[in-house]
Amino acid sequence: MALTRLVLWLMSRIVPAAARQRWLEEWTAESRYGGRRMLPGALPDAWALRALARNEAASPPRPSLFHALDQDVRYALRTFGAGRSFAIGVIGSLAIGIGVTTLAFSLVNASMFRPLPEIRAEEELVQVQLGDRPTQGAWFQTAWADFEVLRDGITAVDDLSIAHEANFAVAPGGEHEPRTSAGLIVSSNYFDVLGARSTLGRFFRPEEDAAPWGQPAVVISHNYWQRYLAGDSNVLQRTLNVNGADLPIIGVAPEGFSGIYARSGIQIWVTFALSDLVFRDAAGRPIAARDAPPFRTTIVGRLKPSATIQQGQAQAAGLAPALAGMRERGIKRLFVRVQPLRIVEPTTDAVRALALMAVPLIVLAIACVNAANLLLARATRRSGDWLVRLALGASRWRLIRQLLVESLLLALGGAALGLVLCFWARSFVENQVVGEILIDGNVLLFVLAAAIATALIFGLGPALSVTRAAVSRAPEAGRFMRGPFGSRTRSALVMLQAALCIGLLATGAQFTKTLQTLWDDGLPEPEQFLAVSIDVDQLRYDRKQSDAFYDGLLARVQELPQVEAAALTNGTVANMLTGLVTSRGGSVSAPGSAGGPIDGTLMTYTTAGFFETMGLPLVAGRTFVSGEHRDLPRSVIVNQAFVARAFGQDPLGRVVRLTTGREGGERTSVDTMVVGVFAPPEGQPIFSQLPNVFYPGPLIHEPARDLLVRFNGDAGAVSAAIRTIVATMDARLPIGLIATGEDLRRRRNVLDYTLAQTVTVLGVIALMLAAAGLYGVVSYMVTLRQKEIGIRIALGAEGASVLKMIVRQSIVPVLVGCVLGSAGAVVVAFLVRSRLHGVSQMDPASIAGAALLLLVTMVVASLVPARRAARVDPIQVLRTE
């Protein structure tokens, strides 16, 4: 009994003191009846009492961190409804920022993160290349024999396919004119290797690739089918005229499919049995690919399930010596690369994506600053609410949460609107920028992430600073509510905005200016100049047909009423204008004087009228006359750079020997006489710096020529007239390029042009955002300081001095930002020096111009609310106090 009592007494220590005595009494009594077997129950009972006591002490239950979140949401929505201009301002700013960033991300998304369309198990595909180094470095062209060695030697790969890209003259018939379309010559297994499934019909069978022209066939792209054949369901009964040959259409590739290079715009596929549509021997005669010298190829295969890429690489390495031996000149270093088709490098990809998105992210930053500023101003005005809530027992977290909920709602609103903007701007941007925009799940995720991130960035700062101030200044509520609280933070934000803004504006201005310098190709009135590229080789014209065609074309074009001058060249001029300097194999020497060939001389075939068309003035001698090119040319016109290299002085009447033609092919050497010297305008790089020789007739078969036209009138009308002339001469013949001088300039610098345009547009957007932001902030400041301003006016301050004070106070941070931003712009200019092509890295005028624009905009933005301040009626203000 004593033991039981002892045990009970010990257990009673667990029971809370208040209930202990009674507990002990009850158990003593109970154990009288139940005996010792009761004891095991006493312990849980003691614990139960203890737990009950503890629960009671801990009341009321602690609310969770997100208790009554719906209240916050409802409250936020109500206040947005009440202060609509605030919500519109913030959501609008964020929408622009998020929209721009999302647009940039969709570009990145389309170019980097999308799997190749309509290709099965991309990760199993390997690409085989010949190169001078094991992994990177230059690659070599591949001959058909090389491909056969590779195909038979690399057994780790299931089946190797080969493709060669070329331009074809494709005439769909009907009302569509013939066009130059990108196409692939492929082995018959090409589609099977990539795992594509035809939309209509079928792909190639081995027998269609067996004997040359045994079973001619063509596969067309989905895009071509829809666009030029009107999605005709009987398309498989039709033929397509490709380079002059009518080929039966056997299948339509799936939508979006363009092989292993996404968006390469491939429109047709034919097999190597038809390779002489494209391949030419040294004399320009059609030839089969297996007999042609090495050409550019894409060799792709699918790894066998049992094999590893290392096995493939080992097998390929074993083939290298044999392949090197097959080369005529014996390449010392030749490697066979077997690499996965898609090499995923997360770090590099991330860096590239960030680089592309850097400028849009700056705009987003400005939008965030804007939103933060407006939020801060609003939060300051609501400080009375905060104090009341704190006094009623709200925790600081609850206040912070309220602000965060508000910023999150605003950010989500901004994101939704931004997405709408993004959709809206999509087609416009796709036309302006080289690239495609892909809006999919990735982009939606990005938008969501961007919204949450921006909400935290622009919401957290104000939330923390406002609640800190509210907590610490609680006792002196009156002063806090009207005092200049937060003005320092606000100024800092305005400053940051100005700095970012001027950085963008100045960089954009510098880019644009640089481009203007770069674009100066000396072509006068480029909008009144047309270049038209035509290649009759696609239709296998021989030399006689080709000469006759071009003579006829030139004559007819010259008869057009708008045309002032026109000339033909061998296609180098348009290339020069697009920045691609090319010269056919050939050499120029001056037998009378220095002797040897004059290196780097550009030889260009032209007809009479060329110098007029190009606006190149002659300084000595005469220009070509019509008919001078009937036979082998006997005369040349040179530039001053050539004169300096070849003769020094007195060039007229001197002899120049032209040798042209391809090695092993047709080769012509002719002695000519210098009849004229032309002087290109200053700064024109190609015609002034490099030695140039122009001769008046084709030395060899020149199937591809450019027609250059100077006209007076509408470029569209002249292009249309030229198209009609070409169509009446040969309906199958496509026009490769038809572009004005202006277009050529843009084309030459398309990337720089896009970049400059983008930065400038974004800079202007940033400027608008910053102006709107400053306007909002100054408006709030004026509202806050209404009483102070009223007192000032009551004490005799004039409206003008109040106006001056407000504008001055708002512009000071902008000025500081200007200085910082300009410094930033200089740094950026140094960093992107490589893109600025050696033009002076810093352009003070651009920066000064940007700063001026910013200042004027900001003064205007602050002037509007300042005028309101100047009109404050002191009686009104003081009465309401």
């Binding site: 009494e25 009594a29 109970e30 139940g34 129950g41 139960a48 009950l52």
Partner: protein, 103 residues
């Protein structure tokens, strides 16, 4: 207490035993067959939920019988209601154990 959490089976047993006139912890143990470690904590919880109240035996009676006085339990009004609800849900509750003979 207006609303109480759903009663456990143990609690239901205890309430029913009290309703049938078993007033002391040990008696409830005997009639339900549940161990003391279950019965007593259940009584505490029910008391905290105000379904049950406890009181002490009259001092006099205990002294007369020469033993410590016992703590006896009773259903409150809420407890009775809860039990009725439970009876409606579980038809067999009423026949769990017989009424205590009033001796």
């Amino acid at each position: 207490m207006a609303s109480t959490p759903a009663l456990s089976y143990t609690a239901l047993f205890v309430l029913q035993a009290l309703n049938q006139g078993y007033k002391f912890g040990f008696d409830i143990m005997e009639v339900t067959g549940l161990p003391s470690g279950t019965i007593y904590p259940a009584l505490r919880r029910l008391e905290a939920l105000e379904l049950v109240t406890s009181d002490w035996e009259k001092d006099l009676k205990a002294r007369k019988e020469g033993r410590p006085r016992r703590r006896y339990y009773e259903l409150t009004q809420t407890g009775k209601e809860q039990l009725r609800e439970a009876e409606a849900r579980f038809m067999a509750v009423g026949r769990l154990f017989p009424k205590r003979s009033t001796t």
